[in-house]
Symmetry: C2
Subunit: 213 residues, 2 copies
DNA sequence: GCAAATTAATGATTTATTCAAG
DNA sequence: CTTGAATAAATCATTAATTTGC
């Protein structure tokens, strides 16, 4: 399923089944602690990281929507075609009664015949009903919303894709987006800037490259 | 600048100046370690977190693009208008010479008169020339790309917006996206699931909510 | 001058699109 | 062709500018 040197996660059958069950049960955008716990539990069935769970839900939700949209578009097109056919039939009748008639027939109001079918009026709090194990502990200790408790941390680096460096020249495409994490001693062992530099030291003299990538 | 109980970061004048300088110097999507170091250095001028830096660059880049696009659209519209005027003039001349002439004049090739002005053919590696302080150490120890070194961690929680809960009912809008971080002992103090539950325990019997949000 | 009311900027989130591995 | 991962675009929400009536 996920060969050792594999660059991307691929879910175990069981992991997948669980994820799908969770999805079906209403979870769409799991919170930090939910992802945390899901990951913990799924790691029992194979190597997995939080971001895998995160991306999985994101993609699954997006592609569900996409599927729906496509289906609706199909229906809409069908309906439009039908309407056009009807109109043409009417035209023919018309023609039959009165030749040399003007060709202009409004085609505009077709789309508005049925409204937006999604229940977009309500926030998705459905995960309150999500599987019990997600809320066993003192829920992620979230009562503690003080500055220290949920501390904002970190970012994609050069994403384990050493191989990409050679394949393409995009190796440095990096980062995902944002993310809070549980309180963590983030002593950047990489940082050697013990004394803060003064502002002027930050800038090289070359201001020559103003480039849009 | 950033009042104590403020829910969102607002940059100090100096922070802003530095960020803009970095941007001008070519930085567009700083890597993890870059953000890290930028944050460290900016925190000298006021409270700031990594995500602020991250978002700042993301937004700044996006809004630059946007500005450019708008400018181009304006130019394009202008040019189109000019062309139309020219065409109308030609038409009038035409008319002058030959009345009752066909009205069809191709309007298509207008857009292609000037190409895409961006240097979109090259990747942006410009930040290799970025301010010296960013690369003081053994560059974020990135030589170490083994599994352990850059470890994937965590996610937005209920984003310190305790106040929002009352104001609106959207309090639970949560999470950003993904993010690697330097190796960190992530002993989730929130997790109390010491022994992995069996699969069946994960699911409640209610499969009633299959909702599209 | 100075708050209340509007509007413009912009920080933060969410959704859509794209890339590329398998 | 599916789908994990990454990026860009659109959107939301709050704060800062600003206008306005006093």
């Amino acid at each position: 399923m996920s060969p050792p040197g594999s660059s991307r996660w691929s879910p175990t059958t069981e992991q997948l089944m669980i994820l799908e069950e969770l999805y079906r049960s209403g979870i769409r955008t799991p919170s930090a602690s939910q992802i945390q716990q899901i990951t913990t539990h799924l790691s029992f069935y194979g190597r997995i990281e939080g971001k895998n769970v995160f991306y999985w839900f994101q993609n699954h939700k997006a592609r569900d929507r996409q599927k729906l949209r496509r289906k609706l578009n199909k229906q809409l097109q069908l309906q439009q075609q039908q309407q056009q056919q009807q109109q043409q039939q009417q035209l023919q009748v018309h023609h039959y009664h009165q030749l040399n008639h003007d060709n202009m027939i409004s085609n505009h109001f077709v789309g508005s015949t049925f409204g937006y079918p999604f229940g977009s009026n309500a926030q998705d709090f459905s995960f309150f009903n999500s599987p019990s194990f997600l809320f066993q502990g003192p829920v992620a200790a979230t009562a503690n919303t003080s500055q220290g408790a949920m501390n904002c941390k970190w970012i994609n680096g050069y994403n384990n894709h050493q191989s990409l460096v050679e394949k393409k020249d995009i190796a440095l495409s990096n980062y995902g987006t944002w993310t809070l994490m549980d309180n963590v001693n983030h002593e950047p062992k990489t940082s050697c800037c013990t004394k803060p530099l003064k502002t002027l030291d930050l800038f090289p003299l070359s201001t020559t490259r103003i480039k849009e990538d």
